[in-house]
């Protein structure tokens, strides 16, 4: 298929073509960049919901119930579900789809994404993947992260509303006071609320929030049992509330912040690659050897190279 045909299919929201574009973006293929340049104007029209939390917390099941709920109320949804790539083989088993049979049978577009060595809970190309999904014309894009650790907070750079899913039984109340992932939730979910300890976890999270500074947006805590769908409607209400709270002004300001961050990232990456090629492998080895032998310190070495 030539480029013109491909673009035409993309503009018709052809599923296969969108899926193919996602592959090209994932592979960091040059064609992807040239296509994205052409379709850029048609992207950015979905509201992005990020879902994160530890492995096994029920993220996929929540995403499934939420997407189904949205589809039933006449909204169109696309899903990107990220799972980790093996640092040893480079392969991955992507199993989020396994829990998304409801969304699947509602005809919702689901794409499993491997993190491909990127840390932080997402794949490096996630933002662009969202743009590709948006060519389907969906109202919402739900992004599910890799089972996240305490410091995997990158999702907040992607989503308009961030949901952090917690489950009872993972630690004591001091865990709730720690910095990191719990801070980024616009909404906190206590899933598996049919399990013992869930009320207590909800209280501890409430306590954690009340100890902090008073904020304009009061982070709600929603208890769910995703497997039965309990609490999903409440969760959706809170997402709507957050969307309303943001309004046009805060929403746009938030997105602008993200594009600034992204632009800086892109610039630094391109400059980085350019500079590294310019310096050349032998010079890098050369200077590194000097650092190793204590002939020069690493700080002066970097200054010298950048000045050149």
């Amino acid at each position: 298929m030539n480029k013109e045909q491909f673009l035409k299919k993309l503009n018709e929201s052809d599923i296969r073509s969108v899926a193919r574009l996602i592959t090209l973006i994932e592979n960091e293929d040059e064609i992807a960049e040239s296509i994205l340049k052409k379709v850029w104007k048609n992207t950015g029209n979905s509201y992005i919901i990020g879902v994160t939390g530890p492995p096994g917390a029920g993220k996929s099941t929540i995403v499934d119930s939420l997407a189904k709920h949205l589809a039933e109320s006449g909204k169109s949804v696309g899903i990107l579900a990220v799972d980790p790539t093996s640092p040893f083989s480079g392969g991955a088993v992507l199993g989020d789809r396994l829990r998304m049979s409801g969304a699947q049978s509602s005809g919702i577009f689901i794409r499993s994404v491997a993190s491909r060595g990127h840390l932080g809970g997402l794949a490096a190309t996630t933002r662009l993947l969202i743009n590709a999904v948006e060519l389907l014309g969906n109202d919402f894009t739900i992004v599910e992260t890799v089972g996240a650790g305490q410091g995997d907070v990158e999702i907040v750079q992607i989503s308009d509303t961030t949901i952090v899913v917690e489950v009872p039984g993972l630690g004591d109340e001091v865990q709730a006071q720690k910095a990191g992932i719990l801070e980024i939730g616009d909404i906190l979910v206590v899933n598996k609320s049919d399990r013992p300890g869930s009320d207590r976890l909800a209280k501890e999270l409430q306590m954690m929030l009340s100890l902090g500074e008073e904020k304009e947006w009061k982070t709600p805590i929603v208890s769910t049992t995703a497997t039965s769908g309990e609490g999903i409607e409440l969760l959706w209400n809170e997402i709507s509330n957050h969307q309303k709270y943001l309004g046009k002004q805060k929403f746009e300001a938030k997105r602008l912040e993200k594009f600034k961050y992204e632009l800086e990232n892109q610039i630094s990456q391109k400059l980085f690659t350019k500079k590294i090629i310019e310096i050349g492998d032998s010079e890098i080895t050369n200077v590194s050897t000097k650092i190793l032998n204590r002939e020069i310190d690493p700080f002066s070495a970097v200054d010298n190279i950048i000045k050149e």
């Binding site: 790539t85 789809r97 689901i110």
Partner: protein, 133 residues
Amino acid sequence: MVSKGKTRVLIAKPGLDGHDRGAKVIARALRDSGMEVIYTGLRQTPEDIVEAAIQEDVHFIGLSILSGAHTHIFPRVIDLLKDRGAEDIKIIAGGIIPDEEIPKWNDMGIEAIFGPGSSTKDIIKYINGKNIE
């Protein structure tokens, strides 16, 4: 490290039998050989499988069937792929498929069939031997 052009394989378990050990072993072996495996789990309909294969933009669909339902499922998957203009997605299969049927299925478009006792190495070798786009 930049990882370009990963081989993507959908492993599906159509039909009603619940024996997914084989499918899981294959999924793991393919992962360990560097492929991206989308595992969709039990009781998938041919419609589910083809839709998932298209959304996931896979190169291969691996079907594991032990119940004899392949006589119904294979032709259905082949037809649905054709309907969607996605015949380039290759189908491989495993499970209990009678030896004497294999040539017939090969002709119909099941590229390769790996019965009981097949080595995961052979499956990986087979997939890697096919030139993916």
